[in-house]
């Protein structure tokens, strides 16, 4: 049977997370529909039509779908789910918010944050902050799945799927979107960047993060942080890498002044190459680092900046 992917978008374009979810769907079956539910979302639907592997884009438009409120989006997913063997969404805050609501309405036990597909009903997922990997077989007639985006390559964009309108749902009237404060940045997005440089409690203050930003700009990197740095108010919440923050797996992860708590490692240990700069040589981060530099970060980071200049 066909697979339904729930597209994450901002009405004008798809978020990259959707491309990873489509790749996961391709491992489950050949017939893939991609739902774009929003308001004035034709541009996002057209973007969805270009995603390789997508057969049909289902476009649902209503003012009540503009902000992906779970109370309105979940019933729409439920109304469509009967035609599918699997419903797949990225395990982003978008997917984590809406998918369990749809699952419960369908009486399905969702499988969250899968990192591998063993067969059409069997999936592997990290538990205990990635300190164990569980393989589970779903006995439900429809599988609802959220996908760890770093575990699946992004689908390419050279397709040409048809766009079909589907009937939107009525406003539940249960909740109202009342504004957002999004972090604006010229740098790449944390979860899709090839290089990430993160700061921890060792940074001592948000005023010291420009040190990392200068390195980031030289490398085309995103800037992240440990929970300790976010809790201390150095940087906003959306910088957080870890079990309960964002999961990243860049080609290069540079951890600066981060001790390497279990919950931080959970968010970055699948990076290809890890660099750790920390003055405490006993810090657990060194146990996972390919390159460790035991040094005071306030001396090391400016030296690194200079060395990058010299090497370029």
């Amino acid at each position: 049977m066909a697979i339904l992917v729930i597209g994450e978008h901002d009405n004008s374009e798809l978020k990259p997370s959707t491309l990873n979810a489509v790749t996961a769907a391709q491992q489950l079956g050949a017939e893939i529909d991609l739902l774009v539910a929003g308001s004035d979302c034709s541009a996002a639907a057209e973007h969805a039509g270009r995603v390789t592997g997508v057969g049909r884009v289902l476009k649902a438009e209503s003012p009540c779908l503009a902000d992906a409120l779970a109370e309105n989006l979940a019933p729409l997913i439920v109304s469509l789910a009967g035609d599918y063997s699997h419903v797949v969404a990225p395990a982003s805050t978008f997917g984590k918010n809406v998918m369990p609501r749809a699952s419960a309405l369908l009486d399905v036990q969702q499988v969250s944050d899968i990192s591998a597909i063993e067969s059409e009903d069997t999936f592997t997922r990290p538990i205990y902050a990635g300190n164990a990997m569980a393989t589970v077989r779903s006995k439900d007639p429809i599988k609802l799945i959220t996908v760890r985006t770093t575990a699946f390559e992004a689908a390419t964009e050279d397709g040409s799927a048809s766009i079909e309108e589907v009937t939107a749902v009525d406003d539940s009237g249960l909740s109202r979107f009342a504004g957002e404060e999004l972090t604006r940045s010229e740098r790449p997005e944390l979860t899709t960047a090839d290089i990430v440089i993160s700061g921890g409690r060792g940074m001592q203050s948000g005023d010291n993060f420009p040190m990392l930003e200068r390195i980031a700009d030289k490398l085309g990197a995103a800037v992240g942080a440990s929970r300790a740095a976010v809790d201390a108010g150095y940087v906003p919440n959306d910088y957080q890498v870890g079990q309960t923050g964002k999961v990243v797996a860049p080609d290069l992860y540079i951890a600066v002044g981060i001790s390497g708590a279990i919950q931080h490692l959970a968010g970055m240990k699948d990076s290809k190459v890890i660099v750790a700069i920390n003055k405490d040589e006993e810090a657990p981060i060194f146990q996972v680092a390919d390159y460790g530099w035991v040094a005071d970060l306030f001396e090391a980071v400016p030296q690194l900046e200079e060395a990058l200049d010299e090497a370029s």
Binding site: N237, D290, Y291
Partner: protein, 249 residues
Amino acid sequence: MKVLVPVKRVIDANIKVRVKSDQSGVELNNVKMAMNPFCEIAVEEAIRLKESGSVEEIIVVAAGPAQSQETLRTGLAMGADRAILIETDEPPEPLAVAKLLKAVVDRENPGLVILGKQAIDGDNNQTGQMLAALLGWSIGTFVSKLAVEADMIKVTREVDGGLENLELVRPSVVTVDLRLNEPRYASLPNIMKAKKKPLDTLNPEELGVDISARLEIVSVVEPPARSAGVKVESAAELVDKLKNEAKVI
């Protein structure tokens, strides 16, 4: 208003978990257990709402083995008024927990359910959303600010792009994120007092809920190990290795 706070007993967040050699799960015997850290934040928020006058009664509820009583006593010692244990042999899956909680909500009629956004054992991040679905209530997930008003609850959510504000029609389910508050420690007198607070025990049959598992555990294994690499002594050496050995810059 009454508020219901579901809590879960999990392996203490500071303990390194061990996978059982028969691959059936994670070793729980003789391991230090504690209240899930996100549940502590939920209990704390309920207590603050009571202290500010928006809430009259706090009920903590757990679904799980008999030892979950200890977790409920922790909630009572922090400041909850009474506790309900729904005793099960095995820890139920999130959908089953949501159904059990719905049955408790139907009996108790709270105006608000506050719970952690995820438990640090299964990392599922489902129960609150599922409970709201089964109740047909509004939902605020990953909440870092919460204000109870006459006819609605205003929340700020931590989302991937930053922060999002929602107005929720009451009654609501709210799942809490790390930065909502700093949970208090229970004082010794309060721990003593908590022993006398009421704790009722129910079972899934009484609540009319089928909790049979929908997921079969095929295996639980250690993740692939990552070994420590080499130490570098200077920025030039690091840049050289990243450029010429790892080839990532």
